[in-house]
Every structure is written in structure tokens, then in C-alpha cells.
Symmetry: C2
Subunit: 248 residues, 2 copies
DNA sequence: ATCCTATGAAGAATGTCAACTCGGATATGG
DNA sequence: CCATATCCGAGTTGACATTCTTCATAGGAT
């Protein structure tokens, strides 16, 4: 896209949603947004429709747009989708990887290892955690790139973004767990990453796929528990019963 | 959606594309479409953007919309995506199926068997072929429904539609192969279906997944050959190099 | 007499439209 | 073959029509 005003509105709203300024369920009114951004309502409308197809907002006719909100069922389904796609991508990565891809993956992995030992020793862990998730993203992106399937990469990135939004603003409100729990969990993630990297490095698609499957499943299990706890706040506020018609 | 005019435009254009009246690459100008449909340009614009997110048309800013056209790379990637999703769905179906789902799958399978023997004997096979693909779709949809993941179902159906459009209008222009070749291939498809059904019936997810994987791979192999032959007509006319920015 | 429900109007936000502006593509001339 | 001018179509805008929501009031029931 290089539509000046539509892009401006798209970037503006998208950034706010990803930063958590617009929380799930927040109403997005075209008129107030248009005055806020300084453009007309049409590009705002375009941006909202684009964001809807990204899965970040939901639009109901005559009712307006709002930041996407999921119930546990939808969340589970999305996680399953991500599991299917990302594990398949890991298998592809083990087949299609080049040396440069391998280096990129290892680079992210090494950065995560360094950050992990730093976090273990640091009194204030938050800023380092932010860097860690950054490198975690880099690790997963590197694998998707190594899979050499741009469409799949794009789709997985889409799901990652949705996941980030609906599971809370930038993951900054983790459930109440002790520091040692977090330490253990980070170590488990690192071990999983090692396993995945090793499988890709030795060009073993089935091992890479299974390792990624377990890894994602672990992440899902970790995410679903607090999700289920706050279930009452995530009930189906929208019933998009639009069955995608396969008819001509 | 229940936006009167936008829906009208959406259904209108979508139907034409799926019927093959608007072939791949066909330019879709908002003005002519709006006069043709009898609405303003705004709902046509909305419809085109919606169809873009469906993957059926591509919009380039300041240049207008056109029916989606793929190069072999994109086609391969989409097939891989479908392979990952649909095989995963088959595995889920083996786990989550209910009796009713099993009946639905068997129903479609039985219909395909009957049609196959009818086609083997019939002199004019085309109308029966149309019914066969209808039941084939029913078979795959039944499995996706049995997987109990609406999001995944929706996504796979989207890919099916794109596949139908880019691989030619309603599959009516098959490459030049003999009748016996087609007979053999239909039988292979039926056998694959039997295998998939059996695995789902005995609740064997890994077998169901693998069977579906092989089935889709066979379909892809069959589709890629004529695709590669006509490669010159499917070169990249559009270079949508828009890397999905993961940044905030 | 008080509370709940239903009906109505006022307000606001969305869908839609026609017109204006801007950018790219084609044609013409050098 | 390249530069310039013209034309066509998309992006954008503000205004109008439509519809959903909300609040208030009147009626009835307990």
C-alpha cells in the first residue's frame, strides 16, 4: 500500500491497537478517528476494513467497528491454526533452509541465551524481558523465512499479531506467578528452541515439525490457563455467525 | 454482512469471478461496475476491498483492481498452505468427530462412488463430472466441519475458492488427457478418500493426517503439471513486495 | 405508592452518494 | 527514442439518508 491518507489512518489505528491503547472491545468510531487523525472518514473506513481482514478489529454493519475480542473458543481455534501453520513451516524450514537462514536462527537463539542469563542475575527484569520477546519473535520469524513460503509467513505473522493483541497489551500484565516459575518457563522455552534449531540444522523435517508442535503447544497451555480464569470477561460479545458461503 | 448495496456489489462481482466470466487478470474498474450494478462507487470499492482480503482480487493503489492472478511460486505456496491446514484438519476430525459428522462424510463418499461407476459407463461425462466435484467439495467440507474448528474451516474454504479461480473457470478446461487417464485418476482420488474416511472412522489422527497429506499432494502434483506448462501466461504481473511489517 | 415495562422521540453514528483533486498511462510531437 | 501534454480513473471529501441507541415518559401490575 502507498495510499497516503488510508495508510496514515491504518498505521495510526494499528499502532494504537498493538500498543494496547485501544484495548479489546474498544469502540472505533470513524468520525472521531477521522477528526483525530486529520483525514476524512473514507480513508478511516478503508483502514478499519483492512484491519478487519487482518483480524485485529471486527466490524458489524450499522454498529461500527471495535477492537477484536475473542471468546475462549475462538482463541483455542486460532492457537490450533497457528500450531498447524507454524509446525508445518518448521518442517519446511528443515528442508528449504540455506546457510544464511541457519545463521539468522542461531543468532536469535544466542541472543536469547545471553539475555536469559542476564535476566537470571538482574534485579529488575522487565526491560530485559522486552528484549527477550523481541529476540523470540526474531527466532520464529527467522524460521518462517527459512521455510521459503512467503504466504505462510504472512499468515503466521498475522496470527502472531492477533495473539499479541487479544492476550493483553504487549504481554505486560502476566498472571501472578513467582520469579522462579518464570525462570523455569523461560528455560523450557530455550530448551525447545534448541531442539527446534538442532532439527532444522540437521535437515530433519519431521523432528523439526514435532519439536515446534510441542513448543507451540506449551505456549498455548501457558496462555490458556489465565485465559480460562478470566473467561467471564471474554464471553462472546459478538456472534459473527456468517458461515462462509461456498456457493457460487 | 447485511449492508444492502455493498453486499449486492460483493455478491455480483464474486459470482462473476467464480463463474469465470471475469478471468484472472481482468481489470475491475469501479466506475463501470457501479453503473453496471446500479449503485455508487463507494459500495463497489468496499466490495473490491473485501474480495481482496478474500484473495480473489488484487488492488494496486492508483491503478485499480483486477482479478487475482498468480505465478507458479504463489500457487505452490498456496497449495502448501492448503496442505498444512487441510491435513491438520483431518487429524482434528479424527479426534473431534461425532457420529453425525461421520455419516455426512460417508454420505458424500457414497455419492462419489455411485457417480464414479455412472461416469465409467456414460458416453457424455461432463454433467456427471460437475456433480462429482460437487460431492468432492461436500466430502472435504464434511471433514472440515468434523474438525470442529470454524476458523480453520473458513480459512481452508477461502483457499479452495482461490484455487478454483486461478486454476481456471470451474475446472472446465482440463488439459488434454485421455479418458482412461481421467478414469484412473478418479479412482485414485476415491481410494484416497476411502483411506481418509477409514482413518477418521477409527479415530486415528496421525493416519488421517498422513492420508490427507498424500491426497492433497496428489491433487497438487496433478494441478502443477498443466500449470507449469502454461507458465508463460502466469508470470508475475504484480509484485506485491509488501512485507508485512511486524513492527509496532 | 412504587417499580417494571413498553412505546415514543431525540440524538448520534454509519451507509451512501455525487463532485473535486491527484496521479499514472497513453498519445503526440520533437 | 525521449519529452511533454492530455485524458482517464482512483483517492478523497463533505453532505444527505438511514438506522441503531438511548433516554424519557406513560401505562399497568404488584
Amino acid at each position: 500500500m502507498k495510499n497516503v491518507n488510508s495508510d496514515m489512518a491504518y498505521d495510526y489505528i494499528r499502532k494504537r491497537i498493538l500498543h494496547g491503547e485501544y484495548g479489546p472491545g474498544k469502540a472505533l468510531m470513524t468520525e472521531s478517528l477521522s477528526t483525530e487523525i486529520g483525514v476524512s472518514r473514507t480513508p478511516v473506513r478503508d483502514a478499519l476494513r483492512q484491519l478487519e481482514s487482518d483480524g485485529l478489529v471486527s466490524i458489524r454493519p450499522r454498529l461500527g467497528a471495535s477492537v477484536k475480542q475473542m471468546n475462549v473458543k475462538e482463541f483455542r481455534e486460532m492457537c490450533d491454526l497457528r500450531l498447524a501453520l507454524e509446525s508445518h513451516a518448521a518442517g519446511l524450514a528443515a528442508i528449504n533452509r540455506r546457510e544464511a537462514d541457519l545463521h539468522e536462527i542461531e543468532f536469535a537463539l544466542e541472543a536469547m541465551r545471553r539475555l536469559n542469563v542476564a535476566i537470571l542475575a538482574a534485579p529488575q527484569e522487565d526491560p530485559l524481558i522486552a528484549e527477550l520477546v523481541r529476540e523470540d519473535v526474531r527466532f520464529h520469524v527467522a524460521i518462517m523465512s527459512a521455510a521459503k513460503n512467503d504466504l505462510m509467513k504472512k499468515e503466521i505473522l498475522r496470527l502472531h499479531l492477533i495473539n499479541r493483541v487479544v492476550s493483553g497489551p504487549a504481554g505486560c500484565e502476566r498472571p501472578i506467578v513467582t520469579k522462579s516459575d518464570r525462570d523455569i518457563r523461560r528455560q523450557a522455552v530455550l530448551d525447545s528452541h534448541d531442539e527446534i534449531y538442532a532439527a532444522i540444522a540437521r535437515s530433519d523435517p519431521v523432528a523439526a515439525k514435532q519439536a515446534m508442535e510441542r513448543h507451540i503447544q506449551d505456549i498455548i497451555d501457558g496462555s490458556m490457563r489465565p485465559m480460562a480464569r478470566a473467561e467471564s470477561g471474554l464471553i462472546a460479545r459478538e456472534l459473527t455467525a456468517e458461515e462462509m458461503s461456498y456457493g457460487l
